[in-house]
Symmetry: C2
């Protein structure tokens, strides 16, 4: 078990686009407020990941490698929409930012995440980084699978 401390931001610029990327496909066997069970295929690897409740920016996380063939069958068992995205890894000031450019029903949405050693860790922001959305549940991947970006009220977002 690991404790995951992450902060999540919207993305305004394009400077991350040339960073190396891999395709991720993921779905949720379970997404409740208190826990999620995620199936993810990342290239030639696959994982089952259980996350507990979020307290501040910290979350319990348990991750286990599984065969890709199992993951394909498990994605078919996932109830809501499967999420597809390219994850770019952009190194800035000694920290790696994961920039997720979504496809499918979440096309157009780009978010950047940074993992921290503790909640108070200071970090430098790349110039393409926008507003922080760490605590905005709409951007949780579990919620994007059932309430994808394409159906959001963009006029309300811009206000």
């Amino acid at each position: 078990m690991a404790l995951e401390i992450e902060r999540k931001f919207l993305v305004t610029g394009e400077g991350w686009r040339n960073a190396p990327a891999e395709r991720l496909s993921q779905g949720y066997l379970c997404h409740e407020p208190s826990r999620t069970v995620r199936v993810r295929i990342a290239g030639e690897q696959a994982f089952l990941t259980i996350k507990g409740i979020t307290q501040g920016a910290t979350r319990q996380e348990f991750e286990y490698p599984i065969p890709v063939a199992d993951a394909q069958s498990l994605l078919a068992l996932c109830g809501a929409g499967v999420i597809d995205k390219y994850r770019h890894r952009y190194v800035h000031a000694g920290k790696t930012w994961e920039v997720d450019a979504f496809l499918g029903d979440n096309q157009g949405l780009v978010v950047a995440e940074i993992e921290l050693a503790n909640e108070d860790e200071v970090f430098d922001k790349p110039d393409w980084l926008g507003e922080e959305v760490t605590h905005d549940a709409r951007y949780y991947n579990a919620n994007l699978s059932t309430q994808p970006f394409v159906h959001w009220n963009k006029a309300a977002l811009a206000e």
Copy 2:
């Protein structure tokens, strides 16, 4: 992934009581009609098990060993009651019956399961075997965790 073909019966006699047993503790991260995600501690081992929808007596099953310490944390994440039982393994006519004698809120309930190679496989019944309940959802362990035996209407059952 495996396909699990099981039949489940109530137990009327006592002939299984001296068969070797192990203590099982299990909870559910997810129990929906279409899939369950189970955490189980069996002595010194622990497993994460995902089961798909039941069709006839057949069910998709995916099982992964996990560290016992992880399983203890995951059981704490499980929403509904954790199930405790002794599982006895009773060999009869070349087949192994798993006889689950429940504890806690399911104390008093005993069910026996047999795993088959195919749905039409013929097997001999021990003399302590009672009524078949393969298709009775009340006896699913996922349902026993939220609707335990102690709260059942026993008068209605006896009718």
